[in-house]
């Protein structure tokens, strides 16, 4: 059953470029991208979706419980007035930033190897920003009055600007996800035709805006994508700056720090890059994308992540050092470094800085498995780091010396886990409806370009070097699959369009 479907897909994916009877690389891309949309779901997939859905439902149930019993049931009290949920908001919107900005920067700098990653990165950005924004609701004591922010506008409140920034950013992420999707929707419609799924055909037809792939359309689309990529970077910077100002505009020691905006921005980038690695790794395995997403991709992303990690470590030090040295209002620092928040803080230092950077630095561990472990460590410990940013300043005594305590309860843990589960769930469902890979972009840069940096100027040279010298193209395949890859560079090189 499954086999026939794949064969049928292979037939539908014919691009006409395959020289022999074997599938061309471009056809493989199409099959891999579209397969999750049309193939019958596997038992494993269904099991995963069921479990994740149950976790999300449990979270919604916990939220209902919280609505009935009050925020106190989530462990809050007057000295720990901000805790888990605002950490969730920051952390989820933060990881979203990574997906969007990584994709945008790679696009703007013309990194052709981004092509197999962009759809995953942008999808992750979209899913996580929505989840992050939703965490505002359990955070509020009166979520049903949320609309008032737009009606009784107070422009001097940082929260109003948070709201504006997050709203704009969600829109931008949506557009940023949609634009590169336009050609793919047309391609999918061309492949699958109307009869298979008339409703999808109609929707895709409408959404692809009559895409034919001619010169003019390409020019317009590229222009639009560059523009959005250009906009989304400062926009994301502004979102995280504004989020940080919700803390930094108070007078609390530990929050009222001038370093906060870049601190938050870098944390977002760092954890976001890590999540892109985790997602890429998971989908590579689960959806068999080994051929398209290679060790090279992971290593490059790993370098980016390690660099951001170093910057973040530097900012953390800068935040703690000057205030800690003078000792003015430094209660929160001693509690962070050696007091009640020491365990989570040093966990971050270990799992969020030392370990991942070591893994990237050491050649033996600089592989897909190692980088995945490092990234998981980064994502988790940056959530914890945010907690260590939020809690000490919130629970510190502004008068007297009594420290408050935040108690985790099953309510807040369940709701947070539901958010975590919603990421893979959202992505799995998303790629049931839209192609998993950016087909058009990958075809545009070709097989070589999808793993290596290929530009107008380098194509000729690389062709000469790699093909002319008869080098085996294992550069692009860290993890086996070398044999199936073969020498199809000639076939795909013709598709590299400038």
């Amino acid at each position: 059953m499954k086999e026939t479907e794949v064969n049928e897909l292979a037939f539908l994916a014919k691009t006409g470029n395959g020289a022999s009877g074997k599938q061309s690389w471009a056809e493989d891309v199409r099959i891999a991208a579209v397969k999750p949309m049309v193939e019958r779901t596997t038992v494993r997939w269904r099991l995963a979706v069921t479990v994740l859905t149950l976790v999300v439902l449990a979270g919604i149930g916990a939220w209902m419980y919280q609505l009935a019993h009050g925020l106190g049931s989530a462990g809050y009290n007057d000295q720990a007035f901000w805790a888990v949920y605002i950490v969730d908001v920051i952390a989820f919107i933060g990881v979203s930033y990574g997906g969007a900005v990584i994709s945008a920067i790679l696009r703007l700098t013309g990194q052709s190897w981004r092509a197999p990653l962009t759809r995953l990165a942008e999808g992750t950005a979209l899913v996580t920003v929505i989840i992050g924004a939703l965490f505002i609701f359990p955070h509020l004591g009166r979520p049903e009055r949320f609309w008032e922010i737009l009606v009784y506008v107070n422009t001097s409140s940082p929260l109003f600007w948070d709201f504006m920034a997050i709203g704009t950013y969600i829109l931008a992420t949506l557009v940023f996800f949609y634009l590169p999707l336009i050609p793919d929707l047309a391609i999918v419609n061309g492949m699958l035709g109307r009869s298979r799924h008339p409703v999808r055909y109609k929707i895709f037809k409408a959404l692809s805006l009559g895409w034919l792939g001619n010169e003019r359309q390409r020019r317009v689309l590229h222009g639009a994508m560059s523009l959005v990529a250009l906009i989304i970077i400062p926009l994301a910077v502004s979102v995280h700056s504004v989020l940080s100002w919700a803390f930094a505009t108070t007078s609390r020691p530990g929050w009222a720090e001038t370093i906060f905006p870049p601190y938050f921005v870098i944390a977002a980038l760092y954890s976001g890059t890590a999540l892109v690695i985790v997602v890429a790794s998971a989908f590579r395995k689960g959806y068999h994308l080994e051929r398209f997403i290679t060790k090279r991709h992971f290593v490059r992303l790993g370098y980016v992540m390690a660099a951001l990690g170093l910057v973040y470590a530097y900012l953390t030090l800068a935040d703690l050092l000057s205030e800690g040295y003078t000792g003015i209002t430094s209660g929160w620092i001693s509690q962070t470094v050696s007091g009640r928040y020491a365990i989570p803080f040093w966990f971050y230092v270990l799992a969020g800085e030392v370990l991942p950077i070591a893994i990237v630095a050491i050649k033996r561990t600089r592989n897909i498995a190692g980088l995945t472990v490092a990234s998981i460590g980064v994502v988790i410990s940056l959530w914890i780091k945010r907690l260590v940013i939020v809690l000490p300043a919130a629970t510190q005594p502004l008068i007297g010396s009594h420290w408050g305590t935040y108690h985790f309860t099953w309510v807040s843990i369940t709701i947070t886990l539901a958010g975590v589960a919603a990421i893979p769930l959202g992505l799995m469902l998303l790629f049931r409806f839209v192609p998993l890979l950016s087909i058009d972009e990958m075809e545009e840069v070709g097989e070589l370009g999808s793993t290596e940096q290929v530009s107008e100027h380098t194509v000729a040279a690389q062709e000469l070097l790699l093909v002319g010298a008869g080098a085996s193209s294992d550069v692009g395949n860290g993890n086996g699959h070398g044999s199936t890859n073969g020498h199809r560079i000639h076939a795909t090189q013709s598709e590299v369009k400038q």
Binding site: D78, L140, G141, Y152, S157, T250, T329, P397, G400, S401
Partner: protein, 339 residues
Amino acid sequence: MRKLSRNRQASDELSLIPQESCAVSQQGQNCPITPAAPVGEAAGDDEKEFSRRRFLTMLGAAAGAAAAIGSGIELLSYRAYAQSMSMTSKGGVPDTNNWSGDSGMTGSGAADMASTLAPPTHQWAMVIDLRNCNGCQSCTAACQKAHYLTPDQTWIKVFALTNSVGQTYHMPRPCMQCENPPCLHVCPVHATFRQDQGVVLVNQDRCIGCRMCMAACPYEARYFNWNSNVKYPPLPVQATPEFPVPQREGTVGKCTFCVGNLNHGLLSECAAGCAMGAIYNGDLKTDVGVNSMGTTIKMSTFLYDNDAVTFKPEQNTHPRVWYILGHGQSLSTDTASAS
């Protein structure tokens, strides 16, 4: 008002220059307040009695109804609340959505509402004489009882602090009713507003429970309603920002200065409950303050003579609450974050 802004400067420099002498009319008003349990020296009773009446006459001028109320603070205050509540409502139902249509400073809704009570002939303030505070926390208890607060909700909280020579002293901390309130500026929906008598209030029918104000208040003066299982007895009046009882779950609450009491010539619950007379309710307009012992002070002179300070002046909040030190205390931030 000019006088106000002068006071604001003065609060930092501790030089409250005596302003207009109060026009005092003493005729005929009965003192509506009987101290709950006056403790301390009985000396100068006559004079105190006299001056107390003088103060309350001035306070009471705007609220003639209050004069008719009998004696006994607890009883009294409750009836005063009930009265003030029925006066604030239109047809018995408080139009709470009308509060603070715009920013709190000159909130038109708030001004309307307040003007039915009393024109802003008062600018409420408080003086806490730390020399007299023995840390008994009866102010906290009185406040919690009157407002049906949970034990955690210490709208006025007595902190045990250490002075420069290691001795313990006590410092009650109500809401400072800041003239430049950070809690108000950060509220995204104008749920926090400042009415025209200088009292910062929360409209719990509007508050979305974001707790931004709790983050912004430098005095930890705000308390959230975390749990839905708080039981309130049936009350004859509906909650208003002035008297938020019962409080709404999921919103924030704080000291209201018992502005309803003040406008009816009554002391705030904490001031009335303080057996030591450490807490004075004051009015910057008439320049008079009074405590539960009936001691009446001329605010400006009293603050000036006793080197009154505000708490955390570096926060630029311009509190309406002044402290009189006297035991080597320093109300500075390093006391706060030590250890």
